[in-house]
């Protein structure tokens, strides 16, 4: 297991390098110009100087390793300095946003909590709803509950977040006026009332994202339970006279959770991607909105960093899913 983990960790390095290269070259080859938004009255030679100041004068084989160095060496150094008060970075050049001229990671750190709150909460809520639905649907296959569950998860698959979100706003904010339509990120939780307000403004974005998660995870849970319910060991367990709850909740559920846990791990990056749209609907100023703004402003370092962070998340979650699979299922041997 350990050797497998180490091997996979080592393998993920070239993967990540390749992904960084793809993103970098896509941004590099693309004809978009970060100076396109500048007024036309700026003379060409000044524009050229501005390009040089942005670091665009160098060819890509100089800038790509530089970005890698900044991302993997300089930024962690600043991070460690920030925590322990050391001075590893020693004033080295950080990754600077074209738009705000401030370090990219500072902006990301400011935006991260909002996204994590909304996305993380919705994932937890979604999974917590999905698991019982999947278990009951499988145990009572083709019952009314199962049919309803299937229908609801079909809706969850089919209704895109930008429609379900807008629909929720129309119903609960516009018609009923129960919930605020805009997520106020400056809101501080200090008392019971402010906590209630925070809860209220989180309900809609969380529900929109959770619907997607629930749809997916409950289907997997149901399929996995169904696979196991027909197995011989279940019949044996019943034949030994175990109660139905022990058979289902202990024997079947434990075995059925193995693939579901990996699906849950693999779904985390996707939900961050989905958050791009949800944040746009509810005006949450999180990472997704930051990415959209950076894209529109041709802010290459910002786009590059956020996209690459998402890629890191995907690779890490794949790795975690594989390792979890190996730990949970003793039949699987990687070595």
């Amino acid at each position: 297991m350990l050797t497998f983990t180490i091997r996979r960790l080592l393998l993920s390095i070239p993967t990540l390098l390749f992904i960084a290269f793809v993103i970098f070259m896509l941004l590099e080859l693309a004809p978009g110009d970060p100076m396109a938004q500048m007024p036309l009255t700026i003379p060409p030679e000044v524009k050229e100087k501005m390009r040089l100041a942005l670091g665009l004068g160098e060819p890509w084989w100089v800038r790509f390793p530089l970005w890698l160095k900044q991302f993997f060496i300089v930024e962690p150094q600043y991070w460690i300095d920030g925590i322990f008060g050391t001075n590893f970075a020693d004033g080295a050049q950080r990754i600077i946003s074209f738009q705000s001229r401030s370090p990219v990671f500072e902006t990301i750190a400011q935006r991260m909590p909002q996204t994590l709150w909304v996305v993380g909460m919705s994932y937890v809520v979604g999974v917590l709803i999905a698991l019982p639905i999947g278990i009951i649907s499988a145990y009572k296959q083709y019952s009314v509950f199962d049919q309803t569950g299937t229908f609801v998860s079909m809706i969850g698959f089919s209704v895109p977040p930008f429609f379900s979100g807008v629909l929720l706003i129309v119903i609960f904010s516009v018609q009923l006026k129960w919930l605020p339509s805009i997520y106020d990120t400056t809101h501080q939780v200090t008392s019971w009332d402010t906590f209630l307000f925070q809860l209220k403004q989180m309900i809609m974005p969380v529900m929109v994202l959770a619907l997607q998660t629930t749809a997916q995870v409950s289907r997997y849970m149901r399929a996995s339970m169904l696979d196991n319910l027909g197995q011989d060991y279940v019949r044996t367990a019943r034949a030994k006279g175990m109660t139905e709850s022990v058979v289902v909740m202990k024997h079947v559920l434990r075995n059925s959770m193995i693939p579901v846990v990996t699906v849950i791990a693999l779904g985390i990056p996707a939900i961050f991607g989905g958050a791009i749209i949800t944040e746009q609907i509810f005006k949450v100023n999180g990472l997704g909105q930051l990415l959209i703004i950076a894209l529109q402003g041709n802010d290459i370092p910002m786009v590059m960093t956020i996209t690459f962070l998402l890629a890191v998340l995907i690779v890490m979650m794949n790795l975690i899913a594989d390792i979890l699979y190996g730990i949970l299922d003793p039949r699987i041997r990687y070595d």
């Binding site: 895109p160 429609f163 629909l167 991607g273 749209i277 998340l313 995907i314 794949n318």
Partner: protein
């Protein structure tokens, strides 16, 4: 799973009739198919019957509410000539939904076909030729590890202008969106096809075909492809659904088609600013997207059941 008994039924029937019979028993799938046919005809023949130019401005008749508003509010501005209402520039919403549906469905189908082509090719090659397997699957894994939505957004933003200049504003964006969606959604098909091809390769009929000297090309087209058709068809429905959603999502983020060029996602995006006073403008395109995708998903569900010989005939 391997003990499939060959059942020689008395009257010879085409297997597709069996599939159709099984498909018919799935109520959701039949409803889905009916709705998909309805919405396709609505978008294809609708503009021809309805005859109102979706882009025509009619300022006198702007902000007409849909016809059902007359029930709730007798003073509402409604007109039988505009059953779904008009937008803030007096453009007829029904004509726009038809036109938008044409584009959305066209993007969905084309992108799906492109993704299937790439996915099936990669899957068959990787599954059949051992030498290519490692390379192709490593590549598939790499693409799967890319954050696709952000990359798609980057592609939209960066390649929009040159393609627009080369192929015209509509054609250029169409090509860009279809290629973008196509090359970011083939991986699942490739994996499924590869797995199935690898399993088929070990079966006796393939061995028999090989023993009479069937060349690889004919082996793939005659023996392997027909047998992996069912997973391909199921992933086609999934692909169509995701392609429609992705196109709408791009339009919704303002990175899809230009604004005078309606698609369902674009109409939805344009209407969000006024949804407090005119919620119906958000609901029409949203319903169109959701119901189409829902029906496609149900068709996929029914197809999966109908194409699985272990379930069929029960």
């Amino acid at each position: 799973m391997t003990d499939q008994t060959v059942d020689i039924a008395a009257p010879q029937r085409n297997q597709w009739w069996d599939v159709w019979d099984q498909f018919k028993t799935h109520k959701g799938a039949v409803f889905g198919l009916m709705f998909l046919i309805f919405i396709t005809l609505f978008c294809l023949l609708g503009p021809w019957l309805w005859g109102i130019d979706p882009g025509k401005l009619d300022i006198r008749n702007k902000n007409v509410r849909p016809i059902y508003m007359a029930i709730f509010d007798s003073g509402a501005k409604v007109s039988w000539a505009r059953p779904m209402g008009t937008d803030n520039l007096g453009r007829d919403i029904m004509a726009n939904i038809m036109q938008g549906g044409r584009i959305s469905l066209a993007v969905g189908w084309t992108a799906m076909v492109l993704a299937l082509l790439i996915g099936t090719t990669v899957g068959v090659l990787a599954g059949y030729f051992k030498r290519l397997d490692g390379l192709l699957m490593r590549f598939t894994d790499l693409v799967l590890a890319l954050p696709l939505l952000p990359l798609l957004l980057v592609m939209m933003l960066l390649f929009r202008d040159p393609l627009r200049a080369a192929f015209g504003p509509e054609q250029g964006i169409f090509i860009l969106i279809v290629t973008g969606i196509g090359i970011t959604s083939w991986m699942q098909t490739a994996r499924i096809v590869r797995g199935d091809v690898m399993a088929l390769k070990e079966r006796e009929f393939v061995l028999a075909a090989r023993s009479i000297g069937t060349p690889a090309r004919r082996m793939i087209t005659r023996h392997l492809l027909p047998n992996v058709l069912s997973p391909i068809m199921v992933s086609a429905t999934l692909g169509l659904a995701t392609a429609i959603i992705t196109e709408s999502a791009l339009s919704f983020l303002g990175l899809g088609f230009p604004s005078d060029f309606p698609t369902w996602g674009k109409i939805l995006f344009d209407s969000v600013d006024r949804m407090t006073s005119f919620p119906e403008r958000v609901i029409w395109p949203g319903l169109a997207i959701s119901l189409t995708v829902l029906s496609v998903n149900y068709i996929g569900d029914g197809l999966r059941d109908a194409l699985d010989p272990r379930i069929r005939g029960l």
